[in-house]
Amino acid sequence: MLAYIWQYVYTSFLRYWLKWFIRQATGRCELQRICSGYKPGATRTIKAEYSLQSSKSKVLRGALEADQDKLDQCVGQIMKVKNIKPQKDPLFKGSLYVCLLQITGHSSLYLSVEDLRKEVFNSDNQEHEAALLKLWDLLMPTVKLESRITKQWGDIGFQGDDPKTDFRGMGMLGLINLVFFSENYTEEARQVLSHANHPKLGYSYAIVGINLTEMAYSLLRSGTLKPHFYNTVQGKPELQHFHQLYSYLAYEFDKFWMAEEPESIMQFNQYREKFHNRIKAHLQDPDVSLTLTVRCDKN
């Protein structure tokens, strides 16, 4: 309760007066102090985001929702409102611009991901079908698919004869992630698949992949992935960065599963939760970077 009152008093009054006082003392506003005081990355961008969010000025708050191509103007307006002279702080403009690019880029990345997720796999769509067949060829280069509807799909971890019913709530996002990992980390993906087909420790490769897409998706949606993207992409994060993150999860989950040696696949959700908590713990670290590092990284 006391903490709650303090929080209220601090955010409504104290923070404002404190900022005013420091501004008078140093001659620089909070955003300037953030932009010059921290190196590019999560800490700086998250602090800038918080500062803009809690600002009393509409111009500052509005910048968080501005269009990508209007960010230049936004930075100009902010500098005007805050009376920041480029001559006195030449680096400010560029730094704030990158912060805004990352912040607004994260929101638009979520929208693109959400669009893909909502796109239902459709057998009449040639692109969808091609992606599915490509997944097979990438993972099983020496085995030919006998027909489109076949039990063989089970060999790469789909549930039944036709994978189309397995994408469910993740839609095309689930399939595209699977294809991306197999295409850009082919060797690693095949290695993971061979683990998944282990007689004792095995699991369903594709189904687990779709579950990991769900994990990546909810981490993105809740904003938990922000520090990762702010550290690894000095600009606007794109869909491929999300697919990269999925690849990291797919590879790391397999390592984790093989090391834990669960009794059977029935324990999946329990270990999924444990893995999820580990990832969330990593994301608490301001220097976090969830990047898949392999012997020869093609990306």
Partner: protein, 182 residues
């Protein structure tokens, strides 16, 4: 949303714990049904690897609902969850006519299981929101449900997506909890 909060209001005295087992082929809608019972969001569901469990309160019962993955590869594990089951709920995708035979076989095998003998069985003829769904009566006939003599049973058409028919089915399940034939 609706269902559960209404049921909660009807709740009385100490809860009797009930173990409900949710089985059926993959893509039947078991997890959607489970989430619907718990009034959770159903738009991000993924195929069940292993199982899910949730406890929900209903009509003076604490229902512990076990949702076990339906893919062929893990069906052999179903038997690990038979013990002490009070009600078996079997979920069928009413629009997946190609697999009616397979789902019928799995159900027949379950009804032959010793550990499930006498356990009341509720069959959800799910996905009635789809135009191609077979009516419950047709499914009942196809599965020869009328030949079941060793337990009480019921078939209920429903849509786990819209929630229609679920409450009726669960009402029946709660009523039949104590009618297990020894």
């Amino acid at each position: 949303m609706g269902l559960l909060s209404i049921l909660r209001k009807l709740k009385s005295a100490p809860d009797q714990e009930v173990r409900i087992l949710l089985l059926g082929l993959d893509n039947g809608g078991k997890t959607t049904l489970l989430k619907q019972l718990a009034s959770e969001d159903i738009s991000h569901i993924t195929p069940t690897q292993g199982f899910n469990i949730k406890s929900v309160q209903s009509q003076g019962f604490k229902l512990n609902v076990w949702d076990i993955g339906g893919q062929r590869k893990i069906r052999p594990y179903w038997r690990n969850y038979f013990e002490n089951t009070d009600v078996l709920i079997y979920v069928i995708d009413s629009a997946d006519r190609k697999r009616f035979e397979e789902t019928g076989q799995e159900l027949a095998e379950l009804l032959d299981e010793e550990k499930l003998s006498g356990v009341p069985v509720l069959i959800f003829a799910n996905k009635q929101d789809l135009l191609t769904a077979a009516p419950a009566s047709e499914i009942a006939e196809g599965l020869n449900l009328h030949t079941i003599r060793d337990r009480v049973w019921q078939i209920q058409s429903c849509s786990a997506l819209t929630g229609e028919g679920i409450q009726e089915g669960m009402n029946w399940a709660c009523k039949s909890v104590n009618s297990k034939k020894k």
